[in-house]
Every structure is written in C-alpha cells, then in structure tokens.
Amino acid sequence: MADQRIPFATHAETTVLGADEIVLNMGPQHPSTHGVLRVKLRLDGEKVIGSECVIGYLHRGVEKIAEHRTYTQFAPYVDRMDYVAAVSNGLGYCEAVEKLLGAEAPLRARVIRTILTELQRIASHLFWLGTHALDIGALTPLFYCLREREEILKIFEKYCGARLTTHAFRIGGLQYEAYDEFEKDVERFCTPFDKRVDEYESLLTGNRIWVGRTKGIGILTAKEAIDYAASGPVLRASGVKWDIRKAMPYAAYDLYKFEIPTGKNGDTFDRYIVRMEEMRQSRLICLQAIENIPAGPIMGKVGKVLKPPPGEVYHAIEAPKGELGYYIVSDGTTQPYRVRIRPPSLINLEAFDKMIRGHLVADVVAIIGTLDIVLGEVDR
C-alpha cells in the first residue's frame, strides 16, 4: 500500500539521463516557493519525472530551544513557526501544556480563543488565496485578499498589540480581556465577508485560465492522502471528511454548528474550493460565538511556576494548514524534557513528489501553492 518511491538521487545517478532529460534546480530564492524551498526537478522536456525537496534553510532548532526554556518562556517561539497563522500555533501549544498540567482554560477564554483562531484561519486562507492566485498568474485577487486580511490583523492588533507574531494566548487562559468593541469589530468584519468570498470566487471559479491551470493538476487520491498522512484541506479535498475540530473538539468548537467541506477529485481546484468554503464556515463560527461570549474569568488556576507531573501528551489541533500536533514530554521540572512539533506543512509537502510527477514545470508553482506551506513551519 505504501508508495515505494524511487529515490531521486540514486535514480538520477544510476540511470543515464535521456537525450531530452535535464535536472533543473528551483529555489531556494525562487519567488514562487513561498520562502526558501529548494526543489530539484528531473525533467523530460517540460515534463517533471522526478523531484526532490531540499529543506532546512530556515531551521532554527525550535525543538532544541524548547528544552532550554520554561513552559511559559517557550510560548512566543511557536508563533515563529507558521508566522502566517501564529494564533493557531499558540492555541495548540497552550492547550497541549494545559493537558499536560491537567488544567483547562475557563469557558470565556476558550470562546475568545475560538473566535481569534477562526479569524486567523480566515486570514491564513486569504493570504494563501492571494499568493496562490498570484503564482498562477491572477494578479487581482491578491489585493482584495490582503484588504480583508488587514481588517483581521487590525483586530489582532487591538486585542494584543501585535499583528503577526501575536502570542495571544497564555497557558491556562488569556492574559488580555477582549477589548470594548471586540464583538462589534468581529461582526463588522464577518457580516459582509461572505459577499467578499463570492467576489473572489467570481474572479476565479469560472475563470477559464484558472480552471485550466488547476483542474486535474496534482491529484492526490484519498488512499494516497492517508498514506502520506496529509491533513487539513489537502486531505479533505481528496474526499476524507475529517476535521479535528469535529472529531476531537478542543477550545469551544463543540458549541458551534459548522460543516466540513470536502472535495471529490483531490486536485488543485478541489483544494481551492474546500478552502473557500472553509472561510465561509469560519465566518459562521465567529458569528455564532460573538452572539454569546459567556462572562467569567479568563485565566484558569495554573499557578505561576508550571511544573507538570512527569509524563507525556500528544495534542493536535486543526490549524489552517492541517493537523498541528505537539508531543510534549515532562520530567517534572519547569522545563519541557522534549517538545516535538508535528508541522502540517512539512508532512503535506512530503506528498509533493507524488503530486508533481507527470505534470509540467509550470505546474510546480501551482502545486507548491496549493499545499499552502510556510517554510518557517517546515523547517522549524
């Protein structure tokens, strides 16, 4: 069942390159690789017959740093992994440590966390849509997407003072109370937002060039997606209806109604449709949540010095890019013994080779775009 890939390097070495074959190096400074990703492509004319991703250019040793910080001190570092969706990273880490401590954030904190995380999902998807469309050649959506994303970042800024690396949550709850106009701001953003999504769709969904560039490109069947442990929109576009928010609810997701959009063909177009629908669903979650933010404390009882009892925990959340998991081992001291971060971008990128084979060079950027990777998270 598992796919036995021919390793690129040995393949290239043992086989004499055909008359039409070349090896093309793309990146790490290529503008369409969303950071410093280097891809070695083996080409037959314009057709890709093999590829190898070279990663690690942004490796900062986050997991090693974690072993030298206290649980509290490490929290801001996770924002620097997926810097397009820092709020989600923070949520995963805080909840994992809470699980390790046996504590839980109060309901009010969890609801505010849910709202901010869903806004972050919208922001992340907007940024993905803008850049993905730009890579394929549609310049216009980028401006619209960034316009809306800006509104979300303003909400973050008003909430915690930062726009990107927010460090919005604390272990045990929240540090900041929602500001006075918080609900109003969220509502002001969410109410017209479905029309905005329609607007983006009117630019792309029926667009002949867009359809031509995305339909049937980079197909990943459900079986392959599971084999490669792809997660998030990549898995759902292949027809697997699985979302951790529903399967193992965390934060306050069990309180709200929403759908899990899925695709059928597992191609680039389906992944686009799934993410568009996810934005609409996130908007609905936000609207439901602001209707009734329960009163109460925002910080649970966790103490000033965090000393989780020895043991280990694996906690995963549905980040915008897929399953973001934290595996934390405690030895009973104030510093984590081991923090393993399961980055969705890295695991999804692993399926790249499977998806690109047989397609053209021009599709490389489409497939990198559709995987929605952030190299800060791939390399950690």
Binding site: Q4, R5, D227, K257, G300, Y314, Y337
Partner: protein
C-alpha cells in the same frame, strides 16, 4: 451555549460513552498500580460558574498501567513483543519489541485500523541503557482514536523502518536520524533532512551542546577562542 450540534459526533472526545478501546474508564476500573487511584472524582472539578457541556473528569496525572480490550488483542497476537502498556493523560501507550515493529505497525494499520500515522519522533534518555524512545503516534480515522507505539534502542541498535507501512514515515525517519542519529533499517535514502550534510553530531541528543559547532567554527575560521 449558543446551540448544540445536532448530529452527535462519533465519540466526540475521549469520554465514557462507548466502551471504546482507548477508554480511560477502562483503566480507571483497573486496580491501578499507583497508590492514588482516583478515577475521575467529580469533586476535583473547580466550582466553575459556567459549567460547559464537556467531560468533567480531570485528566489523570502521570502514567497508569493499562489492560483494556485493545491491549489484550495486541498481547494475544504478539505475546511477549508487547512489553508494557500504560495510559497517560487519557492516551494509550504500548511499548513493543523493536525487532517486530514493522509487523506490529502493519497489524495496527490493517487490523486495528490505525491507518493514519500522525507523527514519528524520538526522545533521548541518555542515562538509560537503551537511550532512545522512537515514538509513533497513530490515529484511526475510522475509530477516532489515537494510539502511541514506542520502541527502545541504544545508540548502536538499528530500528526497522516503517516507511513501507506508511509513506509519510520517510521524512520523519530522516528527521529522527538527523536530530538523534537513530539509524533506520531498510529506509531507502537515510540522509539528513533539515541540517546540511556536513553537519557534525545530532543536535537533539541531550549531550549535544548548542555551542559546540559554533565554537569549533569560530576557532577554525577566526583563530580566536570563542565568539560568545
């Protein structure tokens, strides 16, 4: 608060409803080896004003031996190869014999339906003789459960590669090799993934000092003792 989801999720969270395999209540009913056997005392819950509709049981702190149906099935099938089983923070963990990893992984995927390998990683315990834990976090899309497999290895012992069971393990095993120096037997191209090929040492080992590489470079290239 606002509205409950109409359709009940299949075992929405690991709580007591169905006698699922990785059920914490199964462990709770077990004569626990630890003295403070406090299975889900409701009194331990903080008197929260807004009690949400969620499992009130506080997670058990620390590992407790586990012997539920799932573990029994594994033990029946593999006997001695299942070395230990315990539950920690409601998560089931099996320690298995290293030599039979591929066999047990294949069984987990096909028979127990743990078809989705969330994560593969390692932990270093330098004081132990077999210093490395190689940890597989599996998930079952069908049963909505997680299960963790662990194997122990010394620095010289090779761990069988599960790349043939789950394609996703390819890069994760490379990362474990890169960071810990654990060698996976049968991996098609075991080489560094995040660090440059010429890197010395394996950074996530506990005895790897983060300044070693820096100091060596500074000495060699700048001719001074240390840059820090």
């Amino acid at each position: 608060m606002a509205n409950d989801p109409e359709e009940k999720q299949p075992s929405a969270s690991p709580k007591k409803e169905e006698p699922s395999a990785v059920n914490p209540s199964a462990a709770a009913s077990e004569p626990a080896s630890k003295p403070p056997a406090t299975p889900a005392v409701p009194a331990a819950k903080p008197p929260a004003a807004a009690a949400p509709p969620r499992p009130p049981a506080p997670p058990k702190e620390g590992p407790v031996a586990l012997d539920n149906d799932l573990v029994k099935r594994y033990k029946e099938r593999f006997g001695e190869a299942i070395r230990e089983a315990w539950i920690d923070r409601k998560q089931a963990i099996l320690v298995i014999a290293r030599e039979r990893l591929v066999e047990i992984a294949t069984y987990s995927r096909d028979e127990e339906k743990f078809d989705w390998l969330s994560d593969l990683t390692a932990v270093d315990w330098p004081k132990r003789e077999q210093r490395f834990d190689v940890v597989l976090n599996m998930y079952s899309l069908e049963k909505n459960e997680r299960l963790r497999l662990k194997v122990y290895a010394t620095a010289d012992e090779r761990v069988p590669s599960v790349q043939g069971v789950w394609a996703t393990a390819n890069w994760e095993e490379r990362e474990v090799y890169d960071m810990f120096g654990v060698v996976f037997e049968g991996h098609p191209e075991l080489k560094r993934i995040l660090l440059p090929d010429e890197w010395q040492g394996h950074p996530l080992r506990k005895d790897y000092d983060i300044l070693t590489q820096d100091t060596a470079w500074v000495r060699e290239n700048l001719g001074i003792e240390s840059g820090q």
